[in-house]
């Protein structure tokens, strides 16, 4: 199947099988809302897709560039606030303009932060992301007249969604919002996969593998880490725009340190270094958190135990399970 004499991409085995599965999943998700019609599951999967996109953006940073960010959800928050404020104050109908403004603003904020971040490495990088994240959280929480402080953004209109000229319905209607999220998430997923497999993606992986050696083969490590950071923040910005359109609300608690660690959990649950693993991790994490918290008041105890169990006994996460099993088979 794989002829080493020709010039192959090494990971090209089982290509048709993988494409078939991905298309199957995409069509399945697409048809789901029409079949089941139960609004709770539609909005739950919608939320899973949004957080999956955010987890994927963190995986670009952690799984591919080897940089740990504690509060990647801060950039979801910034973009959501800008989109919300744009819709409330500037023009309530122009959905695409608002999303565009949100993402651009997030990137503008992420650039100087990224420039400072890449000057550090390892644990210092992670703790610096905590510092910046908490700074944004506190600013958003204190700037009462603009962001509504602890109550979050109030008075979000429900603009109409027009996708490639086709009017889906307003963001208030869960079905339209579901399809909008699905399409945007799919586009981001395929583009990110493309970028990860591009020469630029290869440089990120080299930096993850061995930052020192990377600079000794001529890679300007700081510049590429910054580009990786910007890509991750851009994707987080997109998930932020989707978040506020879907939920109609954004508050400081979504940008808190604990929500940040939650996103990190999703990536690890899904398995590092696999983009669609992040979506699986997000789905599992959201289900566990909601399911356990309805079961008992003391849901924190069980969530803690689940986390400890996963890290001790299932290090590579659910998607990573494959490699785990393969290794066993080899004996």
């Amino acid at each position: 199947m794989n002829n080493t004499t020709t010039i192959p991409g090494i990971k090209k085995r089982f290509v048709p099988l993988k494409i078939f599965i991905v298309v199957l999943v995409f069509v399945g998700l697409g048809l789901f809302p029409f079949m089941s019609g139960n609004r709770f599951y539609i909005s739950m999967i919608n939320e899973m897709m949004i957080y999956g996109l955010l987890a994927m953006s963190l995986d670009v940073l952690l799984g591919y560039t080897g940089a740990l960010s504690f509060m990647h959800n801060a950039y979801l928050g910034i973009s959501a606030y800008v989109v919300g404020l744009f819709l409330i104050h500037i023009s309530p109908a122009s959905l695409w303009m608002a999303c565009f403004a949100g993402i651009i603003f997030t990137s503008i904020v992420a650039l100087p932060v990224g420039w400072v971040q890449v000057r550090t490495g390892g644990l210092a990088f992670a703790l610096l992301t905590l510092a910046f994240g908490m700074m944004f959280h506190t600013i958003v929480w204190k700037w009462y007249d603009v962001t509504g402080g602890d109550d979050g953004l109030m008075g979000m209109p429900n603009p109409d969604i027009t996708l490639f000229g086709w009017k889906l319905g307003s963001t208030g209607d869960p079905l339209a919002m579901y399809l909008f999220t699905l399409v945007i998430a799919a586009i981001c997923f395929f583009l990110t996969r493309r970028i990860i497999n591009s020469p630029f993606g290869a440089v990120l992986e080299a930096i993850r593998e061995n930052e020192d050696r990377a600079s000794f083969i001529g890679i300007n490590v700081r510049r590429y880490k910054l580009l990786g950071w910007m890509l991750a923040c851009l994707l987080a910005g997109i998930s932020g725009a989707l978040f506020i359109l879907y939920k109609g609300y954004i508050g400081p608690s979504t940008m808190s340190a604990f929500a940040g660690a939650g996103v990190l959990m999703m990536v690890l649950l899904g398995g590092l270094g696999s983009l669609w693993g992040a979506f699986v991790g997000a789905a599992i994490f959201i289900y566990i958190q909601d399911y356990i918290s309805t079961m008992t008041e003391h849901w924190e105890i069980f969530l803690g135990l689940v986390v400890i169990f996963l890290v001790l006994f299932l290090p590579t996460g659910f998607v990573g399970l494959g490699d785990h099993l393969k290794r066993f088979r080899k004996g």
């Binding site: 497999n197 020469p199 992986e205 080299a206 050696r213 000794f216 083969i217």
Partner: protein
């Protein structure tokens, strides 16, 4: 033969210790220069300064006439100053093929392409295969670097440095931990290479040094105590004392 690279009174101080003490070192655009000296003589520190891993305390380094002291590592590599490491520093989880491909890509450029596939960089992939063939690593191409035998990993270490088409290549104890046959293979390779580009070798294996070096510099306590052809160095009294200690 124009001087490719030379240093003027290069110093590096760690607290009170002068790890590199006013070293004046120069190499031409090709040929094999070796740096030897007892452990702790400052050989690796010297290489670390020239290749930009650690900044120099004082003194200057010139490459093709222009001053490159304390320039960032990636710029030095782009200019053609590459090095290997004493302790293996390779991209473990990546395949051998990818290890060299990424080094080639970093050299030939194209890293900023975010939408084209890796294979679209034709020349990079072709040159990688040539290098693999040249070094006899072809059949290990798809295996992750960390699963290689230690000797092969050392060869890969040198290969990654060579992938950057260096003008000057610093080899920091490439044969450390290699079997005699592998050492012979690598020595032949290095000798062949030194015909085309300038190679600076840091080694403890005296037979290898004496057999393939064009010029030898001996370092002790951070400063140069002798310089010359293998013959001159073998008979040099000071060098013998530095290694064997003064006869009572």
């Amino acid at each position: 033969m124009a001087e490719l690279l030379y240093t003027e009174n290069l110093c590096r101080r760690f607290g009170g210790v002068m790890a590199t003490n006013k070293v004046c070192f120069s190499v031409n655009d090709h040929g094999l220069t070796s740096i030897i000296g007892p452990n702790g003589a400052g050989k690796t520190t010297f290489i670390n300064i020239v290749t930009g891993k650690i900044p120099a305390s004082s003194g200057k380094i010139f490459f093709k006439g222009n001053d490159i002291t304390n320039k960032p590592t990636h710029d030095l590599v782009k200019m053609g100053i590459c090095r290997t490491f004493q302790i293996n520093s390779i991209f473990e989880d990546l395949s051998v093929f990818e290890n060299l491909r990424i080094a080639k890509q970093a050299k030939n450029g194209g890293s900023l392409r975010i939408f084209s596939s890796k294979q679209s960089l034709r020349t990079v992939t072709e040159e990688t295969w040539e290098l693999l063939e040249h070094l006899g690593l072809k059949d290990l191409a798809i295996r992750p670097a960390k699963n290689l035998a230690y000797g092969d990993q050392r060869v890969l270490e040198v290969a990654i440095a060579m992938a950057g088409n260096p003008k000057i290549l610093f080899l920091d104890e490439p044969t450390a931990g290699m079997s005699p046959t592998e050492t012979k293979h690598i020595s032949k390779l290095i000798k062949e290479l030194s015909k085309k580009i300038c190679v600076v070798l840091v080694e403890h294996d005296m037979d290898m040094i004496m057999s393939i070096s064009d010029k030898i510099t001996v370092l002790q306590y951070g400063s140069t105590i002798a310089e010359g052809t293998p013959e001159e160095i073998r008979n040099n009294q000071q060098v013998r004392e530095a290694y064997l200690g003064k006869e009572e």
